[in-house]
Symmetry: C2
């Protein structure tokens, strides 16, 4: 039986999702929706998708879908998710799930009350190479894990009109790319940081353009994390243990990792994606839904709330507050 | 005319100093002193040094020296420096100059009041490769400098009896190796951090075994710095600019650096030491003294005070206070 996906949003990231669905035998993108029917229709025609809608309500009313992938800008994740859950349709929501921990918590509560499957699209955690990385760690190959160093940053041209630089659209490095190093630490240490200290550069549009963070996790491990939208970074993860270390190049989308232990020849494992890399998280959603689960055991909603809380705290320390954030809890 | 060095302390580091002096034509180590005459004498005999003394007073009373290099453990730098200054003898004091900013300030004040040359042995700053690094930066080869990532850490076996783990001897990672990444940032950005946030692991002897730091400098640049005595690090410095980056392997003792700009072939410059690498700071002292200067323009005492203040702050945040630190200012 084919899992019929509806996609809400038709930006660049929707193509990565379609490429992923294309390599999953029992899945298909059957409809696309956006806030502009004309653009959604043009997108559907160009991409050979059977149906197009101008709102989430129309997509849901038309029926015939088994799940929705929401890939609008951060600030437009929450609104379409609610109707999906109310309609009993599972959702995969792009990361960050919402721009604030308050809204992510609200969404998690709504998911719990409706009992409908909901997951943040933290695709990195599902990449095959991380199975290898986890097994190296679990097998004690690098001894006791002590530290993670991870960065993700690129140098975008400064453009006050672009989403990345817009406070109204929850721009800035932390939410755009910081979720990857912060999220990787959370995956690795199985917890949110006990303490995280951040300092950064806030540009003239009021969003964080460059942030460095020093964090400590409940198990005593430390992390140095950084992100930027105006500074090129290494985009590498380095996991250090007492006996060795693991290097994951381009860790957010990695297809390889290298194990270094003492003087032994480094051991590199490659695990190429079948398509864009989004196929693994997509298969996770389908498997969970088929099994009647309402959350992914790998990326349950409490992980999304933890991630959002950490991002909130980092933004607070750096001094970035979005105009739409209320002052109260 | 030969510059006659007296060395106070005869641990491992004194050998690196002797090796440096050996390659300087007009310098010689003529005497060694320590707190134990027997050990100092044995050391002098073994290393072909003409005279040995059991105290700084005896070394100074004997005369015939033009400068003293103090290389005892951190906590024993201050005491021998004073008599040298009072005797008008220039001093090169191992780093950290003293374990606290209060004592480093006291020593700087004493240096100022006596008008005798005094310098912290921040040998890294004088290595020839840093001339290349500075010129790349000054020539705008990497554009505007935005970030430094630097770490220095090694995995020492845990030994509560060792100096490294002793609070009484100002052990821990920050003072033993953290001074290098923190110092490099200070060299690079020409200032102490505007803010520095640190988190770390304090071991059961009460010293910092592993620390990660996120810092911001007055020019808006950021740094991620780390140090450890129980965790192996990369020990690399990575200087990122808007147009490229510079990698300095084993930056604390580096003999090479590589410039990366866009898609161009990386440019590696090597600048081997003539000996241990200590020869450049030693020549700096001799040149300054010959020119009648009381401080090095490269490493003046205000830089030492800044460095000590940063180390104090990092230790405070991590929660390490040495037993000998007084509570008041």
């Amino acid at each position: 039986m084919t899992f019929r996906w509806g996609v809400f949003g038709h930006g660049k990231i929707s193509h990565a999702f379609r490429a992923a669905v294309d390599v999953i035998d029992d899945a298909e993108v059957v409809a696309v929706a956006g806030r502009d029917l004309g653009r959604a229709s043009a997108y559907a025609a160009k991409n050979n998708i059977g149906a197009a809608y101008g709102s989430i309500a129309d997509l849901l009313d038309a029926g015939g879908i088994d799940g929705v992938y929401i890939c609008t800008p951060h600030t437009a994740h929450f609104a379409p998710a609610g109707p999906c859950l109310d309609a009993g349709i599972p959702v995969l929501v792009e990361k960050p799930m919402t721009p604030t921990a308050a809204d992510t918590t609200r969404l998690a509560e709504q998911a719990a009350s409706t009992g409908v499957f909901t997951m943040e699209a933290m695709w990195t955690w599902f990449l095959p190479i991380y199975t290898t990385v986890r097994s190296w760690i679990d097998d004690g190959r690098i001894g006791e894990v002590q530290q993670l160093s991870a960065s993700f940053g690129f140098r975008a041209p400064f453009d006050p009109e672009h989403r990345l630089f817009s406070p109204d659209l929850a721009g800035g490095g932390v939410l755009d790319v910081g979720v990857y190093p912060i999220g990787l630490a959370q995956w690795l240490f199985g917890a949110a940081p006990e303490t995280i200290a951040a300092t950064g550069t806030v540009g003239r549009t009021g969003v964080d353009e460059h942030v460095v963070m020093a964090a400590r996790y409940p198990g005593g491990q430390l992390a140095e994390l950084s992100c930027a939208v105006r500074t090129t970074m290494t985009n590498q993860a380095l996991i250090r243990g007492t006996e060795g270390h693991i290097v994951i190049p381009e860790f957010w989308r990695s297809e390889s990792a290298t194990l270094h232990v003492g003087d032994a020849e480094p051991e590199t494992v490659t695990a190429p994606h079948r398509a864009s890399g989004f196929e693994y998280q997509t298969e996770e959603v389908m498997a969970c839904v088929a099994a009647g689960q309402t959350e992914s055991p790998v990326m349950p909603l409490r992980e999304s709330v933890r991630l959002a809380e950490t991002c909130d705290e980092v933004r607070r320390q750096v001094g970035v507050r979005y105009p739409f954030e209320t002052s109260g809890p």
